[in-house]
Symmetry: C4
Subunit: 250 residues, 4 copies
């Protein structure tokens, strides 16, 4: 139970800090850039990527470093996270994401919470979120199965790129999306646009889970118990319990 508590605290802290990094760097970048949106997004994307490395490396060994309900959903589908724990993870992520907005707003003298007025909707944006989340979950699964200690760098690299190659800025995370509905700053999204984003994210995450489960089987050499009877091989790579020993042997 102590272990569960630590995992949930790690998820909550990581999600809150991630949201604070995304929202806070967006606020500062927009204020300083004085209308130069490309420069603001460049700072925002590099800060997000650099911060993600720090959070995923340091907290990943405790909780798996999801910080994202779609990642927890993917782990549930893969059988590496129990349904009850997945629910706990998601609730903590959603609640702590809001705390992250509060923390960021307090750092910049913004009102505690404010509905965003930034319109982010339409087929191009939904397709962007589908692709963004498909890729995020896909490269995560692929890396976890062959070079687990590189997951933080892969995820950070993909999201940094995603800020630029999608028109939606690659939220790719329902907890972040919900939190960003509560900030009327650079990274905001109108509340009514949240459901479309979240549905596209779930769709992309599930599609990637199915495809990459087939695509990125563990190398035969690491399946020790024999190829004929590995009922939980699917789930053997994403649970915190198994990532910990792997990473401690880096």
């Amino acid at each position: 139970m102590s272990t569960l508590a630590r995992r949930l605290v790690a998820e909550g802290l990581g999600t809150a800090l991630l949201v604070a990094i995304v929202v806070g760097s967006g606020i500062r970048a927009e204020r300083l850039a004085d209308g130069d949106t490309a420069l603001a997004l460049l700072a925002n994307s590099l800060a997000t990527g650099a911060g993600l490395v720090a959070l995923l490396v340091s907290l990943g060994p405790v909780s798996g470093g999801h910080f994202n309900p779609v990642v927890s959903l993917s782990a549930l589908v893969q059988g590496t996270l129990a349904p009850r724990d997945a629910l706990r993870y998601v609730l903590v992520q959603l609640a702590c994401g809001v705390c992250g907005v509060l923390a960021a707003h307090a750092m910049f003298g913004e009102p505690a919470l404010a509905w965003s007025a930034q319109r982010r909707t339409g087929a191009s944006m939904w397709w962007s979120e589908f692709v963004a989340t498909f890729g995020l979950v896909g490269v995560g699964i692929g890396t976890l199965r062959s070079r687990p200690q590189l997951v933080p760098f892969v995820v950070a690299g993909y999201i940094t790129a995603g800020y630029w190659f999608t028109s939606s800025t690659s939220f790719a995370n329902p907890a972040l999306t919900l939190a960003c509905a509560l900030t009327d700053t650079f990274t905001g999204i109108r509340p009514q646009d949240v459901p479309g984003f979240v549905l596209a994210q779930i769709g992309g995450g599930l599609a990637a889970t199915l495809l990459f489960h087939w695509l990125c089987r563990k190398p035969a050499a690491t399946v020790q118990a024999g190829a004929g009877a590995v009922p939980h091989a699917l789930g053997s790579t994403m649970s915190p319990a198994t990532t910990r020993p792997t990473t401690s042997a880096d």
Copy 2:
């Protein structure tokens, strides 16, 4: 056969996502930068490098992570990819590169496909593509033979630099070049300029293959079967079958 299918899917998916990252980030950067081409190229180059790390780390263990006909050609010359497989790799790369353009255009509300009007021709550009591809294939071979797990970072670093130190923006990849003929945006290239680029890329790739094969022999300590009889030593580093066990032991 299932293994071949997975390798081809990995090549196709990786090439499509790579093209989507290059073209998509170019579109967004140009739109936001409002005429500041240096800033647009900075975003484009960093997004490409960050995305390459993610794709090469996650998909490399499945297919070798070529995503580039010149890299497959180099593997063929080195004897690490069978002629029939090399042909399959190249066809999949060319086809999926076009899919990547379609995916990027759909994210930004651009027409599905459009011939580029951007002129990229002349001796300076061809020399640039020769140098770009020579270096890409060269550092790839050198790294694969001594520190294979760092290939993604080396390739990404080289291409990020290449966007700046060449006048051609370091396409260094015939599948990307062909795909970029189909986008009338920041990263486009006129269809009539494609052959010059592709010939320079093939020349640079072959020159690097010959030079670096001699330059970067595997350290003697890792040649286990004896120095006197290693008929396939040349091919022992680049095939997916051998990179996989190596990287799983990172």
Copy 3:
């Protein structure tokens, strides 16, 4: 004693170079950016992060790579640094931080030392410094306990992000804060604003030390002496004496 001398020289040299990098890159960025503060901060943040990687990787094995009185205080609280050594570390850091300002000023033809006139005070800034230092110490402890060889990249990533997601520019370091009171350039802070920053930094550092000590226990597999009797387990990860063997086995 020779070992202590080397550790103190490493701390002093690292802190001086860190301050020179922060202050010097701020001077150059501000001069070149011609009023574009976002661009200046982008250069300043990337230079700081890149320099931190170099200093922490190269000098960390000698002294632990603190370069920061709050980090030494955290090690003292964790029991991994003797009180007398902690005092020595802090004094060397404070003195050599000033040397770093002198070195940077000499590189740019600035007066040797000058009181800063830049106002950095108020609850938002103090909260920013609390969060910045909380996160810095927290991700440091977490990483040290699971993947010690990645500490440099995690710290650099976090600080690069911190320049953007806090309103105070994440000094997160009393030696740096004091030194920056002595430069009337981009990274300066008024002398009267230093105490507020330092108090917030100490508070954040202590809070993180307590929380992450509980959160990031070492994996059971690496506790070799048995779970029942590990009186110094708390202190077993942060002392230079123990990080050295760990990192030499990377």
Copy 4:
């Protein structure tokens, strides 16, 4: 002898590509930035750092990856490079640096060679080059002795930072300095300013060699032959012959 040939080719190729990356990215950045010097330097510094990672990782295992007469001089002083080989290294570096300028100029339609008119002289600049080279050689030695496989990232990070925290743009390399006298573009330096830079670089490099030799002794655990009789311990880390086996076991 074949080994020597390969080492010299690797040094020459690496130096030529390094110079081409520095000079070429400077040309493109200046052309595109349209007077925004901060933005041009940002692109130039990031391209240099990214390119350095690629060159050092891929060619370092062959020749040690010096690409810099001061680094070869430091190896000579440490006893890890024979005097005759050091001379060969330096001559190849100087000659191939000029080839790198030719290659870059050909990529951008510049005249083959042109004397630079850019003034870089005075005490602030010389002090900058001293600090830049002191740090470059110092972090290199420190990293080589504790985590040799991270040298490329440390050197690249330090130089990326150095472009910003020094007023001289951290040439820190006599071969690069000489080559840049032959380009009348962004990274140029007047021929009459070269000697001052080179003297400062040699001074900084020698100072760092002496200090870091004392500071960063190899961890006792890795000195296998006994602490009492290790006549060549000083030289045991920097020669290509010994870095190769180390890195192949990454």
